[in-house]
Symmetry: C2
């Protein structure tokens, strides 16, 4: 039973511990609504996504990059005719998102409480450190975690560094998360364990369409099911 | 000789390893120039600083927060009359700053090379992870460091966590940096060592006017002088 070896369980944060993607989808909706005079919604949403993808290598992930992309996309969509009051609205929207109340994923508190008695738990996220720290404190989940590990992107290289940094070997490491692309595939590729708990909404950038079968992989429908195997 | 106990030396990044503040000062200059029709330079600069300080608790440190504050300040300064082309210029300015070439601090490469043979070196920064990682790679200094430690702010609490995370005791930790407020005072307060190498430009937010005398404190004029005591 290889799971017996697990020493550290890393949890993804957004959409694994708390709801996140929903707020981005809502913000995109509102953005397209605000720009409806310049472009049909679907087209505006597509253009926003393209701007985000162009900016990703320079800006990275999180709400501040998203806000900057909203402004840039609004300028593009309106051909430079967006009123300045709308730019201010987008800035305000970003700040509002940074202060959104925390909505925990179902059953996560109780699951973490039990797991923290047996394993060292860490948060592994590619979000923005300040934002993630703030969410962790607000969430009331901080007490279950040894610390937060922030990576600029969830690549095999960064997972290898993380495992080394945790002073364990790959097969003692388990990652739990909602994104197959970020939380599962690179982790399996370095020989560690990865458990998938999907969230109902996935950002297009994180989508992969692939069936995963791997001895170190399992999929669950909710957090509390982790307790049945760990 | 208490320095003999030092096991880990943490280096601040911006203005300790490479030039940074100079780019912000230049960007502020250009910003005030762009808005000269709406407000005298000095007043515009003051308003920008106020906006930055208001946003600091939500945005944190770095170029992306700075860019968002530039846009917000431009809207305020112009009373909503700033042309949208100028907003685009500010976005472009932010991207340009994120891609600025690295200018190493004098003597830092050689100093790190020697120190890395005797000590475990880490980077300890409150900047943006992606941006700092990129700079570290571009700088060619990455090979001297064990890893990067990112904190949301350089507080006593975060330094205590960092030391614990490094698995050493406070008196085995030495911080080297250019900011008395961020790199020196909180470090001395937790019983660790702190060496100051001032940079010619200091951001107003980081300024303190205080004479420091402490057995664990030393001040230098350039990086290579570290080698005389370590």
């Amino acid at each position: 039973m290889p799971l017996k070896k697990i020493k550290v369980i890393a949890f993804d944060a957004d959409d694994t511990l708390w709801v996140n993607e929903t707020f981005f989808r809502k913000a995109e909706e509102e953005f397209c609504e605000l720009l409806i005079d310049f472009m049909p919604k679907e087209q505006a949403n597509k253009l926003l996504f393209d701007v985000e993808m162009q900016n990703l290598p320079i800006y990275g992930y999180g709400i501040k990059p998203f806000t900057l992309s909203l402004i840039e996309a609004a300028i593009n969509i309106s051909n430079g005719n967006v009123p300045i009051t709308l730019v201010q609205k987008l800035i305000d929207k970003g700040k509002e998102m940074l202060q959104e109340p925390i909505e925990l994923i179902d059953g996560i508190d109780q699951t973490l409480r039990q797991l923290s008695q047996q394993y060292r738990l860490v948060v592994a996220t590619k979000g923005d450190l300040l934002d993630q720290e703030r969410k962790l404190i607000k969430s009331g989940l901080e007490k279950y975690f040894h610390h937060i590990e922030i990576v600029s992107d969830k690549t095999e290289k960064n997972y290898t560094k993380l495992v080394k940094h945790l002073d364990i070997s790959e097969n003692e490491f388990l990652m739990v998360g909602n994104s197959l692309k970020s939380d599962i595939l690179p982790v399996l590729n370095i020989g560690a364990h990865a458990f998938h708990i999907p969230f109902h909404t996935t950002w297009e950038h994180e989508m992969i369409h692939e069936e995963i079968t791997h001895t170190n992989f399992r999929s669950f429908t909710k957090a509390s099911e982790l307790l049945e195997v760990l």
